[in-house]
C-alpha cells in the first residue's frame, strides 16, 4: 500500500509540476497581454492566432484563461489550506478538551457550519462590498468547520486505539502522543477532505464571481469571464464555453485525484 501511495504521490506531484510549468510557459510564450484590448479583432471565434478566440474587447481568451488559472487555483488553494490547518487544529483541541470544552467548541463549530457556504460568502462579500479580498475572507470564514468535525472524530477514535494506550503507558506526554501518533494517522483522511474542499472552493469562487460577488471584471478570473461573456451568448458562444470548460476540467481533475487518494488510503489496503 505504501509503495502504491508513494507512486501516486510522485505521479501527482509530476502532474502538478507539468501543469504549473505549462501555465507559466504559456503565460511567458503567449504574445498577448490578458488585459490588452484589440477593437479590430473583437469576438473572433477560435483561430490559429487566437486558440480560444477573443472576447468582446478583443482580448485573447486563451491567455486570459491561463491568467485566470493563477487566480482561481491559487486563491482556492490558499483558502483551503487555511481551512485545513485552522480546522484540524481546532478539531484536535476539541478532542483533547474534556466534555465541557468539547461541547463548547463543537457547538460554536456547528453554529458556523449551519450557514451554507454560498449564503455566508454572498452575505459577507455583499455587505462589505464585492471584492477579491472580501471574497477570500468570506470563504475563509466558512472553510474550517468540516475539517474541525472530521479531525475531532478521527482524533477521538485514534486516541482510543491500543497503540496510543501503549504510548501512554510508555510515558509519552499528551503533546508528544498527539504529534507522533495521532496527527500522522488522521492526516491522510484530512488531505482527502482537503482535495474535495479545494475543488468545491474553485466552484464557489467562480460561482460567486459569476454572480458578481467575487473577483470583479476586468480581472481574468474564470467566473468573472463568464459574467463578461454572458451578453454575447448568441453571437459568440465561445466566450462562455471555454471558461466553463476550464472550470469543469480543473475540478474534475482534482476530484479524480482525491478519489484515487481515498482509494489508496482505504482501510482494506492499509
Amino acid at each position: 500500500m505504501r509503495a502504491a501511495l508513494r507512486r501516486f504521490l510522485r505521479r501527482l506531484s509530476l502532474a502538478v509540476t507539468c501543469i504549473a510549468g505549462a501555465v507559466i510557459a504559456g503565460l511567458w510564450l503567449t504574445p498577448y497581454d490578458p488585459a490588452a484590448a484589440d477593437f479590430l479583432d473583437r469576438l473572433s471565434p477560435p483561430t490559429a492566432q487566437h486558440w480560444a478566440g477573443t472576447d468582446h474587447l478583443g482580448r485573447d481568451i486563451a491567455t486570459r484563461l491561463l491568467h485566470g488559472g493563477l487566480w482561481s487555483l491559487g486563491l482556492s488553494l490558499t483558502i483551503t489550506a487555511f481551512g485545513l490547518v485552522t480546522g484540524t487544529l481546532i478539531g484536535i483541541i476539541a478532542a483533547q478538551s474534556g466534555r465541557i470544552g468539547d461541547f463548547a467548541i463543537m457547538r460554536v463549530t456547528d453554529s458556523f457550519f449551519a450557514f451554507p457556504e454560498l449564503v455566508a460568502a454572498v452575505a459577507v462579500a455583499g455587505i462589505f462590498g464585492p471584492s477579491t479580498v472580501n471574497l477570500v475572507i468570506a470563504l475563509m470564514i466558512v472553510s474550517w468547520m468540516k475539517f474541525t468535525r472530521l479531525a475531532r472524530t478521527l482524533a477521538l477514535t485514534t486516541s482510543k486505539q491500543d497503540f496510543v494506550t501503549q504510548a501512554r503507558l510508555n510515558g509519552l506526554s499528551q503533546a508528544r502522543i498527539l504529534l507522533v501518533h495521532i496527527l500522522p494517522n488522521i492526516l491522510p483522511s484530512i488531505l482527502v477532505l482537503g482535495t474535495n474542499s479545494w475543488s468545491r472552493t474553485i466552484l464557489a469562487i467562480s460561482g460567486l464571481s459569476f454572480l458578481g460577488f467575487g473577483v470583479q471584471p476586468p480581472q481574468s478570473e474564470w467566473g468573472a469571464m463568464l459574467l463578461d461573456g454572458k451578453p454575447y451568448m448568441q453571437s459568440a458562444p465561445h466566450l462562455m464555453i471555454f471558461p466553463g470548460l476550464t472550470v469543469l476540467i480543473s475540478v474534475l481533475a482534482i476530484n479524480l485525484a482525491g478519489d484515487r487518494l481515498r482509494d489508496l488510503l482505504a482501510p482494506q489496503s492499509m
Binding site: 451554507p116 455583499g126 455587505i127 479524480l256
Partner: protein, 314 residues
C-alpha cells in the same frame, strides 16, 4: 434520556450561536444604519432632519454597546419580530412569505425529477455492475460533481432558449419558465445523488444476508426489489437530508442565473442593497432550517436504528 437533554441544549446553543454570528455580521456592516432606517420610513423625504436620526438612534438603541444591542434584538427575534425592510418598509416576514412559493416550487420539482432520475440510474447501475449503464452512471456522477451549476444553466439556455427557441430563458411566471431552471437543478441533484445511491445499493448487495437469500433460491430481481432497496434507503435518506445545504445553494445560483424571483434572488438583492433586516432574516432562515433538518434526520435515524448508540452524534 440525558442524551436527549444534551442534544436539546446543544440545539439551543447552536441557534443562539447562529443568531450571534448573524447579528455580528450586521453590526459590523459599513454604512449608517439610522440613515437607512430613516429612508425606509420616509421614502419620499428629500433630506432627513438630524432630529429624526437622533430619535431613530434612540428607538433602535443603535448607540448601545454590542451585547445590549444584541440581547435587545434577540429578544425581538424570539418573539417573531424581525423588523421591517430598510428599502420597502414592509415587514420582513411578509416579503419572505411572498417569495417563498417560487423557490419551493423550483426545489420540489427538481428534487422529484432529480431523485427519480438518480434512483433509476443508480438501481440499474447496481443491478448490472460493470455494464455500460453502470459506467455511464459513474461518468455522469463525476462530471456532474465537477460541473459549475451556473455554467450548466448557461449551456441549457444556449441550447433550448437561444438556438432551438423552445423555452423562455429568463424570468418567472408560466410553467414554461420553470422548465429550464428545474431541469438544471434536477440534473445537479441527479448527478450528486446517483453516486451516493449507487454505492449504497452496492453496499447493500454485498451484505452477508444477501448471499444467504441468494443461496435459498430467491431470484435476483426479487432480492433487489425486496431487500437491496430497503437496505439502502436509510443511508440514502440521511445523505439527502445532509445535502439540503447544497440544494439551497443550487437554488440561489439557479434563480440568479435565470433571473427568477424567489428566496435566492431576494437574498442577493437584499445583500446588494444592504437591507440588513432582510439579510439577517434570510441568513438565519437558511442556517436554522439546515440545523433543524439535520437534527430531525438524526432523530429519525436514532429511532429507526437501535444500533446507533449514545455519543455518536456530533
Amino acid at each position: 434520556m440525558t442524551h436527549a437533554l444534551i442534544r436539546l441544549t446543544g440545539l439551543f446553543v447552536v441557534i443562539f450561536g447562529i443568531a450571534l454570528i448573524t447579528f455580528a455580521l450586521a453590526h459590523f456592516a459599513p454604512g449608517d444604519k439610522a440613515q437607512a432606517i430613516a429612508h425606509a420610513r420616509y421614502p419620499d423625504a428629500m433630506g432627513i432632519p438630524p432630529q429624526i436620526l437622533i430619535d431613530i438612534r434612540a428607538e433602535f438603541r443603535l448607540d448601545d454597546p454590542f451585547h445590549l444591542h444584541f440581547l435587545n434584538w434577540f429578544g425581538q427575534v424570539l418573539r417573531g419580530d424581525f423588523g421591517v425592510s430598510y428599502s420597502s418598509g414592509e415587514r420582513v416576514w411578509a416579503i419572505f412569505l411572498g417569495s417563498l412559493g417560487e423557490t419551493v416550487t423550483l426545489t420540489i420539482t427538481s428534487l422529484v425529477f432529480g431523485l427519480t432520475g438518480a434512483f433509476i440510474l443508480a438501481s440499474l447501475a447496481a443491478r448490472y455492475p460493470g455494464s455500460i449503464i453502470d459506467r455511464a452512471a459513474v461518468v455522469i456522477a463525476s462530471v456532474g460533481a465537477a460541473m459549475p451549476g451556473f455554467w450548466l444553466a448557461l449551456l441549457l439556455i444556449l441550447a433550448f432558449a437561444v438556438h432551438l427557441q423552445w423555452l423562455p430563458a429568463y424570468g418567472t411566471g408560466t410553467a414554461a419558465h420553470l422548465v429550464l431552471p428545474a431541469l438544471t437543478l434536477a440534473l445537479w441533484v441527479m448527478a450528486s445523488q446517483t453516486r451516493l445511491l449507487r454505492s449504497f445499493f452496492l453496499d447493500a448487495r454485498a451484505q452477508p444476508f444477501m448471499e444467504t437469500l441468494r443461496l435459498r433460491g430467491h431470484s435476483e430481481s426479487e432480492l433487489f426489489y425486496r431487500h437491496t432497496l430497503r437496505h439502502a434507503m436509510a443511508p440514502a435518506l440521511t445523505m439527502i437530508g445532509l445535502d439540503f445545504a447544497s440544494l439551497m445553494e443550487g437554488a440561489i445560483i439557479i434563480e440568479l442565473t435565470f433571473a427568477r424571483s424567489g428566496i435566492g434572488s431576494l437574498f442577493a438583492a437584499s445583500v446588494l442593497s444592504r437591507d440588513l433586516p432582510l439579510v439577517m432574516f434570510l441568513v438565519m432562515f437558511f442556517a436554522v432550517i439546515y440545523v433543524l433538518i439535520n437534527t430531525s434526520v438524526e432523530l429519525v435515524q436514532r429511532l429507526s436504528d437501535p444500533r446507533m448508540s449514545e455519543g455518536n452524534g456530533p
